[in-house]
């Protein structure tokens, strides 16, 4: 097991006295293949079976396009809201002292820990026309639950911790001397924040944005209760997959899933590129 595959200068791994490399790597790869890779490859394979013409007609069907637009458009808006408020929350938690700070800090992780279905019914009960918030907005003519706006609200909930938790550690590392230097050189506070602090935080904010966006695109549980799920209006792409599956229309379900997978992997690639760029440029991973 400790014999590395060594062929004329090329080594698969560096020699080490620790045992168990073959066992643990072999088990990990086998488990990964069985649980994740082979099933995922099945989707791509099934989708390839469809043939290009059929795939294209499903992917460009008006209902599919509207569902994809709801998922990606909603996720985009939600991620932008989260960038603004997530960065603000991170800033307040890192820089200021106020009562209950530790509790609020812990609460930020709630969307990670709270099951999505629970979040879904809770948000719906708040924003429904007879709910705590919905009843306040109803006289103003604003409807949130059962509209695309409701979808965005759920996506904001689910994406918030991604921005806060990627920006917060980078903010904690900022060297205060940089700000002092800017101040002694005559910069006003807003100039320091805009010209000195924000550029350094940009990679972390961008990563947080991409993570929140990717999560919101695929989100299902917290969205379907509040969305109202009106076809062509507030129907999200994951729900369309479920509907097609319930109709035993596996071809359509697979086609929509393939489009979503392709865009998600593109996002993953972008996140990795941002992190590699930030490591080169700033010397740390976001």
């Amino acid at each position: 097991m400790t014999t590395a595959i060594a062929t004329a200068g090329w080594r698969f791994r560096k020699p080490s006295v620790l045992p168990g490399f073959g066992l643990t790597l072999g088990f990990s790869i086998a488990y990964l293949s069985l649980i994740v890779l082979i099933p995922l490859a099945g989707v791509v394979w099934r989708s390839a079976e469809l043939g290009w013409a059929q795939f294209w007609s499903i992917a460009t069907d008006q209902r599919t396009l509207n569902a994809l637009r709801m998922s990606f458009g909603g996720a985009l808006v939600a991620a932008m809201v989260n960038v603004v408020f997530g960065t603000l929350v991170a800033w307040v938690l890192v820089r200021y002292r106020f009562p209950g700070k530790r509790i609020f800090d812990a609460m930020v992780d709630l969307p990670f820990a709270l099951p999505t279905a629970v979040a879904g019914i809770a948000l719906t009960s708040l924003y429904a026309p007879n709910g705590w918030i919905g009843s306040l907005l109803a006289p103003l003519g604003i409807k949130i639950a059962y509209t695309p706006l409701g979808v965005v609200m759920a996506m904001i909930f689910i994406g918030l911790p991604f921005v806060v938790r990627t920006v917060q550690p980078v903010m904690e590392e900022i060297d205060r001397e940089v700000e002092e230097a800017a101040a002694t050189l005559g910069a006003r506070r807003l100039q320091t924040v805009r010209r000195v602090l924000l550029p350094g935080l940009a990679p972390a904010i961008l990563t947080g944005f991409a993570l929140a966006f990717a999560r919101a695109v695929g989100e299902y549980g917290s969205v379907i209760f509040i969305a109202g799920n009106i076809p062509y209006v507030s129907e999200i792409a994951p729900l369309l997959i479920v509907i097609r599956l319930e109709e035993y229309n596996y071809a359509a379900a697979t086609a929509v899933a393939t489009v979503m997978l392709a865009i998600s992997f593109l996002m993953l690639l972008v996140i990795n590129l941002i992190q590699a760029w930030s490591r080169r440029r700033f010397g740390y991973g976001a």
Partner: protein, 291 residues
């Protein structure tokens, strides 16, 4: 311009390196208002709605046979899925953190893959793999093995969505710790297993506990993936989150929020234990947040 940075925190700091008290108040109010609106209020709503018709109605809703069956199934699924991913997480972290080999970064990306897949697609992959139209489907049917719309499918989908949690927590932690402790143990004559049980495991125990906690919270709360493979058979293949959905769609709000309140309680316990672990184990101990 003289730069006097106040040593005492009670003295208002100069506005050149921080914001004016008014700006600070406004920013804190905005941030806390946002957190109250999006996090505290929904959590509060769950418990208020659950007890809206009184304590008796709450416990009556939980004591229904279908609710009890859902709770049992959820516990069973988590009891299988979490240990599976625990063994994988430790094995993967050992191989990735303790050794240098080609293609490591790619392997880490693959481990993270389930995080970037929509939960619905995580369920769909198993429907395509084991469903009636698949290669395996007819063989499974002829041998009387039921995976979809039964417990094995639910367990598989749960393992898929919680796949990276423990590995992700352990890899950076074990990379930071290096291999010096293990090398010392081995040179003193310990066997590989002794080294793992007596040296490595005690070193990673808090990170491991933290990973198990997060993995468990997600395993018990997973909705999308499980919903696709479960078949929604009441009392048989409904986990707690699916039961919440069914009760809610039947306008049984007290029942839905009562079951939901148990899941919310689980989330709160997870958050409290996470905070305690972070305190105990210091922020520098590289407890990262999962993606």
């Amino acid at each position: 311009m003289v730069l006097d940075i106040p040593a005492d925190r009670n003295v208002a700091p100069r506005s050149a390196v921080t914001e004016s008290p008014l700006t600070r108040m406004v920013l804190i109010a905005l941030a806390l208002g946002f957190l109250l609106l999006f996090l505290v209020l929904p959590l509060l709503a769950v418990f208020v709605q659950a007890f809206a018709k009184g304590v008796d109605a709450y416990f009556a809703a939980l004591a229904l046979p279908d609710s009890l069956a859902a709770i049992k199934l959820t516990l069973l699924v988590a009891a299988i899925a979490v240990p599976c991913n625990l063994v994988f997480g430790v094995a993967a972290a050992w191989a990735i953190a303790k050794f240098e080999f080609k293609g490591k970064a790619f392997l880490i990306t693959l481990v993270d893959l389930p995080f970037s897949v929509s939960p619905v697609i995580s369920g769909l992959v198993y429907v395509l793999l084991f469903g009636s139209g698949s290669l395996l489907g007819p063989w499974l049917t002829s041998h009387g093995i039921q995976i979809l719309f039964a417990v094995p499918g639910i367990v598989l989908a749960t393992i898929f969505v919680t796949f990276p949690f423990i590995a992700r927590e352990l890899i950076p932690l074990m990379q930071d710790q290096g291999t010096a402790d293990e090398e010392a143990a081995l040179s003193l004559g310990a066997t590989g297993w002794q080294t793992f049980w007596r040296v490595t495991l005690p070193n990673i125990r808090w990170g491991l506990l933290y990973g198990v906690l997060l993995c468990n919270a997600r395993a018990m709360g997973e909705f999308g993936a499980v919903s696709v493979v479960s078949g929604h058979i009441r009392g048989l293949t409904n986990t707690m989150p699916l039961h919440v959905e069914i009760l809610y769609n039947e306008y049984n709000f007290t029942g839905a929020f009562a079951v939901a309140s148990l899941l919310a309680l689980l989330a709160l316990v997870t958050l409290i234990m996470k905070t305690l672990l972070e305190l105990r184990y210091s922020r520098a101990g590289s407890l990262s947040t999962p993606h």
